[in-house]
């Protein structure tokens, strides 16, 4: 099949750009560990309150791990437990969350903390909170009539 010279140039340029994008995100993911939240941890959605760590939602300092704090959240229509958390600036935090009923979102506005919570699954994300401030945590997956009143607050303090 004959292809115009310029079209060959364009395709080469276009495909190279796509490859560049893939190399950048692939390298950050598989070399630096910047994966999207993809935990494969399971929980019985009807017994969430009895099962660790969800029997004790909140901020927990941990030792001997790659992160300093574990923040445990339980979502249900239309609440997050806890309703507010505080972590020190510069600490590395592992967010661990699940839902007791329908699918909910878990997003801290203005950050990359953005994950879907599904019944039966635990969602996890590790990040270093390097900017002080108050970040609104909200549900970004439609969950019913109270969807837009479902909030919590992440406070990163000095």
């Amino acid at each position: 099949m004959h292809i115009h010279k310029y079209e060959k140039w364009w395709l080469t340029f276009g495909i190279s750009s796509l490859v560049l994008f893939l190399v950048v995100v692939g390298f950050s993911a598989f070399h630096y560990g910047s994966h999207p939240p993809s935990a494969k941890v399971y929980v019985d959605p009807e017994r969430v309150d009895e099962i660790a760590p969800f029997n004790n939602p909140g901020v927990h300092k941990v030792e001997g791990k790659d992160w300093d704090y574990e923040v445990v959240f339980v979502a249900s229509a239309f609440y997050y437990n806890p309703p507010e958390i505080e972590v020190p600036l510069g600490s590395t935090v592992k967010f661990i969350a699940t839902t007791k009923d329908v699918v909910h979102g878990f997003q801290a506005a203005g950050t990359n903390i953005n994950m879907i919570l599904e019944p039966g699954y635990v969602s996890e994300y590790i990040t270093t909170v390097d900017k002080a401030g108050e970040y609104l945590i909200l549900c970004n997956e439609y969950c019913g009539v109270g969807h837009s009143s479902m909030t919590s607050m992440l406070k990163v303090v000095e």
Binding site: H35, G110, Y142
Partner: protein
Amino acid sequence: MTTVAERAKDLVKVDRRDGKLALAHIYVAFIALAIGGLCGLLQTLVRSGTFTLPWGIGYYQILTVHGVLLGLVLTTYFIFGFQIAAVSRTSGTLTDKQRMLGWVGFWVMTIGTIASATMVLLNQASVLYTFYAPLQAHWIFYAGLALVIVGSWIGGAGQIGKYIEWRKANPGQSSPLLTFMVVVNLSMWIVCSLGVAVEVLFQLLPWSLGWVDKVDVLLSRTLFWYFGHPLVYFWLLPAYMVWYVVIPKVIGGKIFSDALARLSFMLFLLFSIPVGFHHQLVEPGISSFWKFLQVVLTLMVVIPSLLTAFSMFATFEIRGRALGGKGVLGWFKKLPWGDARFLVPFIGMAAFIPAGAGGIINASHQMNQLVHNTIWVTGHFHLTVATTVVLTFFGAAYWLIPHLTGRVLTKQMNKLAIIQAIVWAFGMSIMSGAMHIVGLFGAPRRSDFSTYGGSAQAAEWIPYQIAQAVGGTILFIGIVLVLYIVANLLWFAPKGETEFPVGEISENAEKTPMALENWKIWLTICIALILFAYTVPVIDMIQNAPPGSKGFKLW
């Protein structure tokens, strides 16, 4: 120079009986536009914080109506109307049996649509058009959706039947380009809608009827998005048909390359389907490796759009130069800017540039965390489907409807159509622009007005939400205008002959390789890619499935 034979070809009319079938689809499409568009206006007003819905109507109820009517009904019905006319125009009048399949499909889809819509209006199914379990709608809502899908298969079979008949009657010849494209689009549709059919028939229906207690949530979402991404290409490909085949004729030029047009459609068939995980990038239960693999395949589907961009510019440049356009960009001025059949889809093409750029960002693996379920995504698909696709459909309606009704688009209506497209582009720039920006701030999609407990961040979003309402209001004016034009073309425009423009292939273009029409090869690769992308993660999902979920009705 047009020869007598070519002029005779231009006047080929779609058979009246096929035209009636096509028009039936188009009627439903524009009724959906009217109701769905009104719901869209109401949503933007509610979200600006200045308006409350009367009579206890829920925000999520009208959001469901808006999504279902515009995302599923308007698109599918217009596409079927257009495709039926296109097949009949380029491959000959449908046989009685093919047309009968078209009508059976139409009524099955319509009964399904009415059943689902009724449950939404009764507030028994405010689950949005993605109907994520374990939110549980009334079973009639799911049954209605199943009928829509099955109806589309029946109607599609009529169109594919004509293609098979043509190939048998013309062995060794390349099929008419437009018919070929229709068949690619339908093949993609049938392969992908199997996913949502399995979800609805085997998971959601038995569960909502109470025959089973629990549903596997992740599996249902995976089946949905196996369907959901090719769905957006099912909307886009008919727009590409207009761009590749109709626009060259409208501007008086030729199709740049038949072979490249077919190749890009085949690439869409291959790479549109095994990519659903890029809608599930931030959810648990799927490993980063398999997500990334589908991200790679997702970016492959950009390639046929790159090809298309080149072909479009080349078609325009060759024509503009033939008309005496000089210099590097002088040809641009020579294009028929006063012709709505050209200008309206052209604005749609222009919108696809930011739309495509945004789409690449959305699909870029972990970068999806930046935008996932923020209103940026809403801004994105209001550029893709609600501008690129919809303006192209409007531009096509301006010749298709009068062609089928035996009327003409008058000068005044042509002018109004141009104004309509400009109004649309203006309103959408404001609305979609505001959505993109505030989405990056973190404002969520699909959410009622909320101050989020007095959050300082959420307070910053409100000016953008007001901008969305301004844009939404302008867009609603655009909807009123297009409905006025369509009503004119259906019932009031002067009688006359309107051409169904079908471009000729450029004499410089190479002969099309027959391999492009070897369905055994392409469908085999298509299915192999799907199996490659989905088998391992789906088996993993089923083997490691946690206890399922019972249904919830939380609205």
